[in-house]
Point group: C2
Chain length 407, copies 2
């Protein structure tokens, strides 16, 4: 197990953020994940990293804060915190996030505090978030188990932690043979082949339908680009923003989505679970939401700012993907979004438009991309999902048939 | 045990830093101490704290940094870190430090890196350190066990952690009956009675002698004050800087120390152990040091700046104190200094001079107080220590006889 963890740590450092000689690396991790964070730090120093800076997280303390801190805490961001995120982002440090949380850590917390907190950090850390969306620095989100989360995924199992470790290591192609990096290079190549096919079609729109009730037409910007797997910063540092990643994604036309979309899986957002929900969308805007569970959290999420009720991402993942075939509901977007076609409301990625890396916010808007301080993925792929693409000359091309790629 | 830990956490929050309604609390703690840190946070919110801000530490990552980070890391302090310490200090936040470390965590590390790091942080965090020495904010250093440290104190014992917990809880007067705060109020009262007696003598000098070879005369500033136990900020917030505390302390006259002083216990400093050492002092300056172990660490410690080779504190602790009677070598200054008379080289505390709280650095110097970015306590009390005080009219008064107070 120690071997596998080390291989995983090296994978994240070497091709996840691909830390460079002399570069700073910021690692976010829950305190429960200290052993693994230390392995990542060792791997980073071995790769010539200048300094590893830790950004420790703790579910309990986060919950305590949202429950008991003073009101104005949620409307302000201290200077040190602005400098922390914005300065490291602006100097081009690498950011590795070990993301692990109790999916219902913030159950019962005043959702107003969550929204205000997101708004104030969205404003204060704008340079950081902007650079992240524009590939201004190398970043990678990955995950390892913590007990509270593992017990949610495998309730009542004494070996919940081991099972979740096994499940995660399978999704990230780590088996202890030391060849995970090679397997990832192969995997990225395959994703890129599909990405190239999608770009060649140059679709004008996609029509989603399934038996849940989804019937949604998504128009794409004239100059949209599909992206997959690995990206690169402007300065040419390759990185993989999510490990695992199985998706091929682009940006929708901000005002070009109409219809109804049903979630295929629960969504864990802001420490709450949103389940059995659907949305009605008109000219790109979410005009109605219904959820059997967590509706208030969902309403808060789409009201963080104006752009939060418009869409920023369209991502294709086959129903028969290595992650979804495990038939595990991870209660963690990093895994669940890579087990299912998904959409995101909120901010679009610059790389999803031709020349986007060098565009201002205004130019991106002119291209039809959405702007927001938030970006929330939710899963829509089912085993009977059909997606039909329409090209600019009116041809209809099956993209997804019965939940999987048609080509 | 859970009960005792909660009682201890409440003690630290309620009378250690004495957190006020609406006040921020910064908690420093190793990640291994997360459970206890969470208890402190809960106690702080229960007391009306505005926000608990965590400052997590980790021995392994600190060691990795000193071994493998780039050279210039040790000469610079990032903006965010300056803002973190200086801003919270300047707004008058409370600082609680849960101090626990492997006493030899930095064994083998380049001592030049340690010194440079201390110099650059001494410079960058000057507002924070100055305010700390001048009681500009409420602060409290306390401790709980971590495995690496417990195994050093009780080598080869499977129950090392439990033993160290028991030892620490005994020193901090926590037994689970919920009355620790009362016991502490009684204890502080006793220390204050002794402090008042010492102030009444208004000694001109103290003469230390014991069989180890110590023969040292320490002159005291004309306007020196003895302090003990609890202090208070300028704004009147009472706090206890060290829990446990058994000492009564003042500042020596910077240029008024002559003779030889032998350490009575090993000193753990900067992740290294310094043992069996003595110093020769002329007109206040340490002109010679000899150590059987850790001499390089000691030499580095007194060369951080000019004031590091002069003295900043004289502290009296009876040999038969509740801590020393446990006959445990804690390898942690917080405990060992409260088990033995000690001296400190480096900075003096403002409160040790009449009107010191409102004095500038220059005024404090004019009073004879030492100035440095460091402050390192080391233990000199033995069971045969004799201290004779000489008053300004030439009377010789026994202060310590056979290691204990003569009055």
């Amino acid at each position: 197990m120690q071997e596998k963890m080390m291989e995983y740590a090296r994978l994240l450092v070497e091709i996840g953020v691909n830390v460079q000689k002399g570069q700073n690396l910021v690692i976010s991790a829950p305190v429960e994940c200290a052993d693994f964070a230390r392995m990542c730090a060792k791997a980073a120093y071995a790769a010539g990293c200048r300094e590893v800076i830790m950004n420790w997280k703790d579910d309990t303390l986060t919950r305590e804060k949202y429950l008991h801190a003073a009101e104005d805490v949620f409307d302000t961001v201290p200077e040190w915190s602005k400098h922390f995120y914005n300065d490291y982002a602006q100097e081009g440090a690498a950011f590795l996030s070990i993301s692990a949380t109790d999916p219902e850590n913030l159950l019962g917390v005043d959702s107003g505090r969550l929204v205000r907190s997101q708004r104030s950090s969205g404003e204060a850390l704008k340079p950081y978030y902007r650079l992240q969306m524009a590939s201004g620095f190398a970043w990678c989100i990955a995950s390892i188990p913590i007990p509270s989360w593992a017990n949610k995924v495998f309730p009542g199992r004494a070996d919940a932690m081991e099972r979740l470790w096994d499940a995660i290591l399978a999704t990230v192609r780590v088996n202890g043979d030391g060849r995970a990096v090679e397997r990832w290079r192969d995997h990225l190549k395959k994703l890129e082949e599909r990405r190239d096919k999608l770009n060649a079609y140059h679709f004008a729109s996609l029509h989603y339908r399934n038996s849940l009730g989804t019937d949604l037409v998504i128009r794409l910007p004239e100059n949209h680009l599909w992206a997959a797997g690995g990206g690169a910063t402007k300065s040419g540092q390759a990185f993989i923003a999510n490990i695992p990643t199985e998706e091929i994604f682009t940006a929708p036309l901000r005002n070009g989505i109409d219809g109804v979309v049903y979630a295929a899986l629960p969504l864990c957002h802001d420490g709450n679970i949103i389940d059995k929900f659907h949305m009605v969308v008109k000219e790109g805007k979410i005009v109605e939401v219904h959820a059997e569970k967590g509706e208030e959290t969902l309403r808060s999420a789409i009201s963080v700012d104006e752009g939060a009720s418009y869409f920023g991402e369209v991502a294709l993942v086959p129903y028969d993907s290595p992650i979804s075939n495990q038939k595990i509901l991870f209660y963690h977007t990093l895994f669940d979004e890579n087990a299912s076609c998904h959409l995101a409301f909120g901010e679009a990625y610059n790389e999803c438009i031709q020349g986007g890396a060098d565009m201002t916010k205004e130019e991106l808007k002119a291209q039809g991309l959405n702007d927001s301080i938030t970006h929330v993925d939710f899963m829509v792929g089912t085993k009977d999902l059909s997606i039909v693409g329409t090209t600019h000359d009116g041809q209809e091309i099956p993209v997804f048939v019965d939940g999987n790629f048609a080509f």
